[in-house]
C-alpha cells in the first residue's frame, strides 16, 4: 500500500513536471514570426504576409 502511494506520488510529480515544461516552452510561442508578423501558409510552407498600411498607400495614379 505504501509502495503504491509512493508510485502515485512519483507519477504525480512526473506529470506535474511535464505540464510545467510544456507551458514553459510555449510561453513565448505565437502564430507568427519573432517580429510579430503574420504568417501565411502557402504551397511552399510558411511565408510572411505583407502588412500594407492604407494610411500611407496612395498608388495606382499612373494613368489617372
Amino acid at each position: 500500500m505504501r509502495f503504491l502511494k509512493k508510485y502515485r506520488l512519483i507519477l504525480f510529480i512526473t506529470l506535474g513536471v511535464l505540464v510545467f515544461e510544456t507551458f514553459y516552452s510555449c510561453a513565448n510561442a505565437r502564430w507568427g514570426t519573432d517580429a510579430g508578423l503574420n504568417v501565411t501558409w502557402g504551397p511552399n510552407g510558411p511565408r510572411v504576409r505583407p502588412h500594407v498600411d492604407f494610411d500611407i498607400y496612395n498608388g495606382g495614379r499612373l494613368r489617372h
Binding site: 502557402g42 504551397p43 511552399n44 500594407v52 492604407f54 498608388g59 495606382g60 499612373l62
Partner: protein
C-alpha cells in the same frame, strides 16, 4: 597616309583626355545622347514582365483563373518557361526556378543590344547589384537582373521577338504600369535619375505624395512611399480589370491572399491588391 588618318584622331583624343581638357557642354551632351540615352518609343506600356516562380503549374492555374490568361510553354534548354497571352496576344512570361522561396514579378526594360550594354554599365556604376549575370536565351536575347539600392529587383532585356509582339493596349488583363514602393523615396529618386536619366516629378493626390518617372514627357513608372511595413522596397505591377472586386474574390478562392479588397474608402474601390500563392504582389485596377 592611311595610318596617319587613323592615328591622328587617337592622338588628339589621348591628348584631350590626358590634359583633362573639358569638351564644350553641347558636344558633351551630344556624345552622351549618342552613347547612353534611353530611346523608348512608348515607355509606360513597353515594359516586359516575367514572373519568377517555384512552381510554374500552380502559377499558371492561379493567373489563368483571375485574368483569363493563356500560356504557351517554351523549351529553353532545360529552363521551364511559359509565355503569357492575353486575348491571344503576348504580354509577358513566367520562369520556373524550383529553388526560389517566393514568387516575384520582375519588370524588364527592353533595349537594343547596344543600348543594353551601355545601360548595364551605367546601372552598375550607380550602385545596383547584379543578381543574375547577363544570360542569353534563345529567342529572348540577353537579360540581366539587378537589385537596386534598396533591394528592389528589376531587369534589362534585349528587344526580342516577344517584346516586339507585346500587346500594349488597355484591354482587360493587360498591364497598366508599374510602381516602385520605395522605403527611401529620396534615395530611389537619385538612383533612377542617374541610372536611367529619367525625370522624377512630384505630384500630390489626397494630400499624399506621388512621384512620376518620366522620359521625354512620357510616363515610365510611378513611385510611392512604401506602404508595406514589414517588407522592403519593391516594384509592383498593375493589371487592368473592369471588376477588381471579382478578380480579388477569385484570387482568394484560388489560394491567393488578399492584401486589399476594393473598398470605397481607398481610391473609390478601383483597386485591389493580391498576393499569389507563392507570395508575389500584384495590383488590380479598373480605369
Amino acid at each position: 597616309m592611311k595610318i596617319n588618318l587613323f592615328l591622328t584622331p587617337i592622338f588628339l583624343l589621348s591628348f584631350l583626355f590626358s590634359a583633362n581638357i573639358k569638351l564644350p557642354e553641347e558636344i558633351q551632351k551630344t556624345i552622351h545622347k549618342q552613347t547612353n540615352s534611353l530611346s523608348i518609343e512608348n515607355p509606360s506600356s513597353s515594359l516586359w514582365h516575367d514572373l519568377i516562380t517555384p512552381d510554374l503549374n500552380i502559377s499558371k492555374e492561379f493567373y489563368g483563373k483571375i485574368f483569363n490568361w493563356t500560356f504557351v510553354d517554351v523549351n529553353f534548354k532545360g529552363i521551364n518557361y511559359t509565355t503569357i497571352y492575353n486575348n491571344d496576344k503576348v504580354i509577358g512570361g513566367m520562369i520556373e526556378i524550383k529553388s526560389a522561396k517566393n514568387s516575384t514579378w520582375i519588370t524588364s526594360l527592353p533595349l537594343s543590344n547596344e543600348d543594353l550594354n551601355n545601360r548595364i554599365k551605367t546601372v552598375m556604376s550607380n550602385g545596383a547589384k547584379v543578381l543574375l549575370p547577363p544570360v542569353k536565351l534563345p529567342g529572348r536575347g540577353k537579360q540581366v537582373v539587378f537589385e537596386g539600392l534598396q533591394g528592389e529587383e528589376f531587369s534589362l532585356i534585349s528587344k526580342n521577338e516577344y517584346t516586339a509582339k507585346m500587346d500594349t493596349s488597355e484591354a482587360n488583363g493587360n498591364w497598366l504600369g508599374i510602381e516602385l514602393w520605395a522605403s527611401d523615396v529620396e534615395n530611389a529618386k537619385e538612383f533612377y535619375k542617374n541610372a536611367f536619366e529619367v525625370n522624377v516629378e512630384k505630384t500630390e493626390y489626397d494630400n499624399k505624395s506621388y512621384w512620376l518617372f518620366t522620359l521625354a514627357s512620357k510616363t515610365l513608372a510611378g513611385m510611392i512611399q512604401n506602404p508595406v511595413t514589414n517588407q522592403g522596397s519593391q516594384w509592383v505591377p498593375y493589371i487592368k480589370m473592369d471588376d477588381p472586386a471579382a478578380s480579388v474574390t477569385i484570387a482568394k478562392k484560388s489560394s491567393g491572399s488578399v492584401l486589399l479588397a476594393p473598398t470605397m474608402k481607398i481610391r473609390g474601390g478601383k483597386i485591389g491588391i493580391i498576393q499569389d500563392p507563392h507570395g508575389a504582389i500584384i495590383a488590380i485596377q479598373k480605369k
